[in-house]
């Protein structure tokens, strides 16, 4: 263990920890663009610079290891000047569309420009103009907004392991693209959206079916309802509607697949069943719960009187909750009297 001081506060951390980790431990926030603890450290954006023992060169907190007796300042004058300069440079080639930008409210660039009071760029130079790639069904790539943090590429390479995107061109023209710039729909991309989830700006964004602002939504932690991996995720809810899904920590290590990330439209689909239906004159017709319960209970009683509990069978569901399943088998066993309960687990 080593003891370091951050903004005058002492903290003990394991040897080999980074300054960023040490700061996190005592709740001191250092801004980051390119850092993600799941990825190999690469220290490319430099927004996380800090001052160490009053030295003039400012190391990046996300890759610099701590040492005994280290004294770190995270918001010193030099640090703030350096961060402002980085933001200034980023804005030199970034459209200031915050009013209509989908990411507003959850954009790291916007937040940091606000924090450090960077209103606009002091540079006057060329700007890139890329066409927005809308070819993927679930997300777009707007390279005019990319800040080249590299996270999307690394997530696709190191975590998702699909290798669909990479950096194209060099220098000023650097941007994220698919091989040969054929566009996302022609790439090997599997639409997992894991790159979208880590993009700090709106360069990679989910196509929204409902307009919403990030400050308008509630986040509800839940478990994906598709396959048995059981990924953890947050549902973003606005006006009683799920408008986006974001990956959360858990067995999935903040990853999702296309189904978990993007396939939630069914919840608010107009075809959802809303009322009990009872077959009358050969047709299923809307009815009330009372009538539905009476019909079912009536049938159960008459069939049971005539044929006994052996005439009943029930299918529980690998899709429903554990509690729903428990209640159904209890209903079949305790209220009807048969063990004929099964489900499609075999399929």
């Amino acid at each position: 263990m080593v003891t370091v001081s951050i903004n005058g506060q002492k903290v003990e951390v394991e040897k080999g920890s980074t300054v960023l980790e040490a700061a996190k431990k005592i709740g001191i926030k250092i801004p980051t663009f390119c850092h993600d603890e799941r990825l190999k450290p690469h220290g490319s954006c430099r927004i996380c610079v800090v001052e160490v023992n009053g030295g003039a060169n400012l190391p990046t907190a996300c890759v610099t290891p701590v040492y005994e007796g280290m004294e770190v300042e995270t918001e010193s004058e030099d640090v703030v000047t350096a961060r402002k300069e980085i933001l200034d440079l980023l804005l030199a080639d970034h459209p200031l569309e915050c009013l209509t930008c989908e990411k507003a409210g959850e954009c790291v660039l916007q937040d940091l420009c606000y924090q450090y009071g960077v209103e606009e760029t002091s540079y006057d130079g060329a700007r890139n103009h890329y066409e927005i790639d809308q070819s993927n069904d679930f997300y777009y790539s707007d390279q005019n907004k990319c800040i080249k943090c590299g996270k999307c590429v690394m997530v696709c390479d190191e975590l998702q392991e699909t290798h669909a995107i990479g950096f194209a061109e060099r220098g000023f023209e650097t941007h994220i693209a698919t091989p040969l710039e054929r566009g996302l729909s022609e790439s090997t991309c599997v639409s997992c959206g894991n790159c979208v989830s880590v993009c700090p700006v709106d360069a990679l964004g989910s196509k929204k079916k409902t307009k919403f602002r990030y400050w308008e939504v509630n986040k509800v932690r839940t478990t994906c309802s598709y396959c048995g991996v059981g990924c953890q995720m947050d549902l973003l809810v606005k006006d009683n509607k799920v408008v986006e899904v974001q990956p959360a920590d858990g067995v999935n290590d903040r990853m999702l697949c296309a189904k978990g990330k993007f396939a939630f439209d069914f919840l608010s689909h107009p075809d959802r069943l809303k009322m009990p239906l009872i077959r009358k004159d050969g047709r299923l017709q809307e009815s009330t719960w009372e009538e539905a319960y009476d019909t079912i209970v009536g049938k159960i009683n008459s069939i049971k009187a005539e044929n006994g509990p052996g005439a009943f069978a029930g299918l529980t569901s690998a899709r429903c909750s554990t509690e729903d399943n428990y209640m159904m088998q209890k209903f079949m066993r305790a209220a009807i009297g048969t063990n004929s309960v099964d489900h499609c687990a075999r399929l």
Binding site: D137, F138, E161, T162, T222, T223, S225, C227, G228, V229, G230, V251, C257, A258, F262, A263, F264, D265, F266, L267, D271, R272, L273, K274, P276, I278, L284, Y293, T295, K299, I300, I303, G310, A311, F312, L315, S317, A318, R319, C320, S321, T322, E323, D324, N325, Y326, M327, M328, Q329, K330, A334, A335, N339, V341, D342, H343, C344, A345, R346, L347
Partner: protein, 527 residues
Amino acid sequence: MTNSVDEVLKSDVLFVTGSNTTENHPVIGSKMKQAVKNGAKLIVADPREIELAYYADVFLQIKPGTSLALSNGLMHVILAEELQDDKFIEERTENFEALKELVKEYTPEKVAEICEVDAKDIIKAAKIYGEGNRAAIYYCMGITQHSTGTESVMSIANLAMLTGNIGREGTGVNPLRGQNNVQGACDMGGLPNVYPGYQPVANPDMKKKFDEAWGVDLSDENGLTLPEMMDNALRKSVKMIYIMGENPMVSDPDTTHIRKAIESLDFLVVQDIFLTETAELADVVLPATAYAEKDGTFVNTERRVQRIRKAIDAPGEAKNDWEIFMNLMNRLGYEKTYESASEIMDEIASVTPQYAGIDYSRLEGNGLQWPCPTKTHEGTRFLHGERFARGLGLFKPANYKPSAEVTDEEYPLIMTTGRVLYQYHTRTMTGKTEGLNNLAPESFIEISPELARVKNIETGDRIKVSSRRGSITVNAKVTDKISGNTVFIPFHWAEGAANILTNGSVLDEYSKIPELKVSAVNIEKAS
């Protein structure tokens, strides 16, 4: 799974068999690819050249239905090369001699012939698995949906025990659960022979326990399995079926047979979130809530009980499934009421030993992996650590038997079924997502280039596929993912439904799982 998902990255050998992991369990599939990049060796056995095959050190493109022979062959080589774990066999297992005897005749050459792969690859795979320090096996429906499914699973377990690859981190025998809560449905006794917690209904002590817990006199007779229910419906001895959240009209084998069975019923109740193909046949359809509209739990493939939480209100008058059952029970004279899903979990914990330590307050955070026998127990990452449930691990040697469904002149091809990445099960949910439908709009048949040449078929041609049960018409996809006379059709779509063709009548003798992965078919260009 005997082990946990994050242990994928702790293994030095992964043997993936009958699981197209990157499409069916994508997040685990990615972890497998990460493991390979970190240096783990990968063995893949599958009739199709799935994505993982490209990452594999050995890819065994086995004929559908031959994985039992393959496991026996691998064990043969492991014994011949003396790669078995003698200490583990000695201390933790029994019946080893019988296994040794049985696998003697499964020489690589013989197995190569059965599986239609190269004997050298079998030897190579056996050496990789046998030499691994932490070798894990992952499997899915490609193993279980065969007439010898249970025996195939046993032989996989034999392989793990033979090499001591069980009960330690990064090892194990790991079935990947297809649906979000298959594990929970099984745990809760959604099976005809057991109460919650796999406590047999035919065991008088268990019956007594549940009689007392539930305050009723329960039946001690095993109930009917799904295929038996359908047969009994046809015979008119089952009169009423109640279906919650399932769509057997698409998911089950031999759709024509299922339809007849359902139509023979006096009364069908279906409770679901959409009017599914099955619900359309019902007498009463009840609107249920979806996962985002209720509190509850799902149990994932590593036995982790995790919360779902109500985020939005259900549409119209839809109700929680558990509430509907409570209301029906009350009307049938069973008085007990519940206020919440949490209260039901408390009752579950009181009757289910594996869940005894679980309640909602303990599930905040990342849930708990059962067995979790007490309120202070932290849950169980991997099973069989010190000992097996029965004490010693029993080798259960099993001989390979060819699939019950055989090809002949009229039906010379073998069809196997599965899922695709962009659709899910019977598409009740994914079918309502535009983007997914664009990526995977309709059913198709994968045909090998060799076969396509013989039949003069090109990608996009309309193909009539027939089996002894019926026929469907789908689009051709010529691909070298598949080889020889094997064809593949995903089962998601009601239109061009693979399960019109599959055989529901041949069941695994133990698990009663139908032989879904092997159907004899023929194909011709549709006019």
